[in-house]
Symmetry: C2
Subunit: 211 residues, 2 copies
Amino acid sequence: MDNDDLRRGRPTAHKQFDEATALLAGDALLTHAFGLIAESYASQPVLAHGLIRELADAAGSRRLIGGQMEDLLAEKKADATKDDLEFIHLNKTAAMIEAAFAMGGMIGEAIGGTQAPRTLDTLRKAGRDLGLAFQIIDDLLDATADTATLGKTAGKDAKADKATFVKLHGLDASRRIAAELTASAIAELRELPGDPAFLHALVQSMAVRGK
Amino acid sequence: MDNDDLRRGRPTAHKQFDEATALLAGDALLTHAFGLIAESYASQPVLAHGLIRELADAAGSRRLIGGQMEDLLAEKKADATKDDLEFIHLNKTAAMIEAAFAMGGMIGEAIGGTQAPRTLDTLRKAGRDLGLAFQIIDDLLDATADTATLGKTAGKDAKADKATFVKLHGLDASRRIAAELTASAIAELRELPGDPAFLHALVQSMAVRGK
């Protein structure tokens, strides 16, 4: 989507192979996600149906794709606002993390056999806060880390004068907001039944990551 | 996917807008297909689940995407065989028509409340035959029609020396095979319960289409 040709230190698919192959691989993986849910929960079609609705909503034109499209459009205009940026981050990044948290909750409920709508709401909130924090930290790392550490080209946001949290809020406020969102996510996870150790560790590791 | 910039006489999305927008629109539409099934059959999750499995299988890496990838690879090698070509046509084109026929059958069964596995098999066979005929006719039209009639660039297969039914079997044999497949599809549709008038007309219109 952008001009960055490295991910996790390795060339992206469209560099390693070619544009058409990368595009087809994307379509295949997207289709596979839905097929995998349908196959994995073949004996629980109601659960499979709920998971597929959640994924289609999060990955669809109003959320992930909408956020990515607004991100592309924002690259072309100099006056993207904080609201534009929040829309982009909430949808491009946080929607899928929120959906992953919610889907985990739906599977847990189906296995546990209990209905816990408040648990789902809490998981969604925690996923959204984590997702937003994740993207702000991405913006911070692009501005402060080097390419070798990052595994992808650093400094490209500033070079492109792209609207990021760092550009619109500054480094200090971005760090503060990311820390607040991380704390909120952890507080929300504390409300959940069961052992939240893994989710706590996940949220913490996102906050202190160096790449 | 190919270098053709016209579809139905209008510029393709990647020409009208740009590559990134076209790619995102494709991802959004693919996701929307799964979401639409899940929403439309929200009160029949077992049916929704079956339809999603069918679509994910037909559109996935082993079928539609696999066929399209083999098609791209075949463009780069001079010695694609009739078997290669049949694999490409069966998966790139026929898989989705077969799935559309089968999904119609699954919805009909769910509404009618009867189980009719033979009906589904017959629908699949008819869809596959129609799909293969459709693609052979596409190859024939590329070789014999003009761009204005076709609504997309004509003659590009021969120009690219692409493996097509016309190149590997010749015009006459291609016409004969397409006619045989059309006749088979119609014979299969005759075996179905209910009124097959629409499907008959659909198969016939595919066989005599000029674009």
